[in-house]
């Protein structure tokens, strides 16, 4: 074991520039992989957070009388499938909004005493399938300004997630291949530089695995090293990002840094090491037949 590690490290030093290039490529590829993972998982998280709270917001016309308001409420409650109807008057709506803005509620001071929000009903239904028909029915009621449900947003968010995912996948595959290529190239140079030694090892009866290990370890060190850099950069920047979000956009459902990023780091380190081992194997197969 000591022999293998010693040989690997000597070879890494020997090919300094190629080693640095390999590590950088792996780091770059895995950093982008990590960024996409973080993005997709966060978007998914947001979408499902929104989906679980699908409800219909029914905005009432301004100046509707209390009686008419009650009538609308009763009619809504009478629609089959509706499970809950909650009245939210404009003052409540404004204070809720202020809450969601957190630190930023200062911007509302510009409104002075006026309140631009309408009176509204929040309507919950049995199943998400009914949302569309119920919304359509409510829109027809007199006194209703308009009725909306969050699914449109959810649908948009899912569409966005899908796009990010496809785009990310293509990019990641491309970068992984680039990393694989450059690592296998580095190892190929090592193999080539040591072909005499390998030849002699074969003649005196070294097993193929004995010959392979130093190269495998070298590839794995390159992959792991690159992954480590990617992990450090990603952790640092996600930390800064979540800090910013908590300060200014507290209502965004961001996934907290721990243990989320720990898991992603483990994934990246494993992927990096595997790419390294794979790159070595390709070179050994093709150029040394061991």
């Amino acid at each position: 074991m000591e022999y293998f590690v010693r040989e690997s490290l000597a070879s890494l030093r020997h090919n300094g520039l190629m080693s640095i290039a390999s590590i950088t490529t792996v780091a770059l590829s895995l950093l982008i992989l990590g960024m996409f993972l973080v993005m997709v998982l966060n978007l998914n998280n947001m979408a499902s957070a929104l989906e679980s709270q699908v409800q219909i917001s029914v905005y009432l016309q301004d100046g509707l009388s209390d009686y008419d308001t009650r009538t609308v409420g009763t009619r809504i409650a009478g629609i089959p499938g509706v499970t809950q109807v909650t009245y939210v008057n404009k003052d409540e709506a404004l204070s809720k909004f202020k809450q969601r803005l957190g630190d930023q509620q200062g911007i509302l001071n510009a409104l002075g005493d006026s309140n631009p929000l309408p009176n509204a009903f929040e309507v919950k239904v049995d199943t998400p399938d009914e949302v569309k028909t119920v919304t359509a029915a409510i829109s027809q009621f007199s006194g209703v300004e308009n009725a909306r449900f969050g699914q449109e947003v959810v649908a948009h968010l899912f569409a966005l997630t899908r796009m990010v995912r496809i785009f990310g996948l293509v990019l990641i595959i491309f970068l992984a291949l680039a990393a694989l290529f450059i690592i296998s190239n580095t190892i190929r140079i090592t193999v080539f530089a040591r072909r005499k030694e390998i030849g002699i090892m074969k003649y005196v009866g070294a097993t193929d695995w004995f010959i392979r290990w130093p190269f495998l370890i070298e590839g794995m060190i390159l992959g792991f090293g690159g992954a480590l850099i990617a992990v450090l950069l990603l952790t640092k920047s996600y930390g800064l990002f979540t800090e910013q979000v908590y300060q200014s956009l507290a209502f965004l459902p961001i996934i907290p840094q721990y243990p989320f990023l720990t898991n992603i780091s483990i994934i990246l380190l494993v992927v990096g090491t595997v790419i390294g081992a794979l790159g070595s194997t390709i070179s050994l197969r093709r150029f040394m037949q061991v």
């Binding site: 022999y3 005499k196 002699i200 090892m201 005196v204 009866g205």
Partner: protein
């Protein structure tokens, strides 16, 4: 020790290197394989350490059947063989000692044993004073002696030498042959492909002559038999 039965070797380009060779080499034999260039001498020795595979026929070396051997058995076959080349094949960045020790390290021999054995064989080939020297600082004959030390350090049953004196002057060739003789006296079988007529004629050992892939002569205490 080495048993070839009806062995033929045809390369993928169609050239016939050996055809229907049958031969038996006993333990402790010292054998010269002679013949013109391209006659098949090199193929003959390469088959023994499975650098090449026979196209047809059976070849048994140290009790192992070369033709039916799995690739992962090859290292263990070679641990029983010592191989010496015309061009020495030493590692230039390792000292004499390390070049020889390398052959034991890569088959994972115990460290203490390595030290003992390497010093022994370097003594045997007369290079005890040069253990810390690098190959580039040695003469051709000395380099070949390092290669021989490396070939025998793992106590092989058979030493295979492909033109070991091809790059050396006559006096140096003699020194090398004396070392091979010394190794042979310990019971190690030696199979040597060579062009070196004076050496073959003077040693009076078994000579196998190959021409156009066939054995044309197999003679105890033989001579080279060609004008070189």
């Amino acid at each position: 020790m080495i048993q070839m039965t009806d062995v033929s070797k045809i390369y993928s380009n169609g050239s016939v290197a050996l055809s229907n060779v049958t031969i038996y080499i006993e333990k402790g034999d010292f054998i010269f394989v002679v013949g013109p260039s391209g006659a098949g001498k090199s193929t003959f020795v390469k088959l023994i350490f499975r650098e090449e595979l026979p196209t047809t026929g059976d070849l048994i070396v140290n009790g192992r059947n070369i033709s039916s051997m799995e690739p992962d058995e090859v290292p263990y076959l070679r641990r029983g063989l010592g191989i010496v080349f015309q061009d020495f094949r030493l590692l230039p960045n390792k000292t004499v000692y390390d070049n020889v020790a390398f052959a034991m390290e890569v088959i994972e021999a115990p460290r203490r044993e390595i030290q003992k054995r390497v010093n022994n064989v370097l003594d045997l080939v007369g290079l005890k004073q040069k253990t810390r020297t690098y190959p580039s600082q040695l003469s051709g004959g000395e380099q070949q002696r390092v290669a021989i030390a490396r070939a025998i350090v793992n106590n092989p049953l058979v030493v295979i030498a492909d033109e070991p004196t091809g790059n050396l002057d006559p006096d140096t060739s003699w020194e090398i042959m004396k070392i091979f003789e010394r190794i042979n006296r310990t019971g190690t079988t030696i199979v040597m492909a060579t062009h070196d007529k004076p050496v073959v004629d003077a040693m009076k050992r078994r000579v196998i002559a190959i021409e156009k892939g066939r054995i044309v002569r197999d003679q105890e205490k033989g001579v080279y038999g060609y004008e070189s």
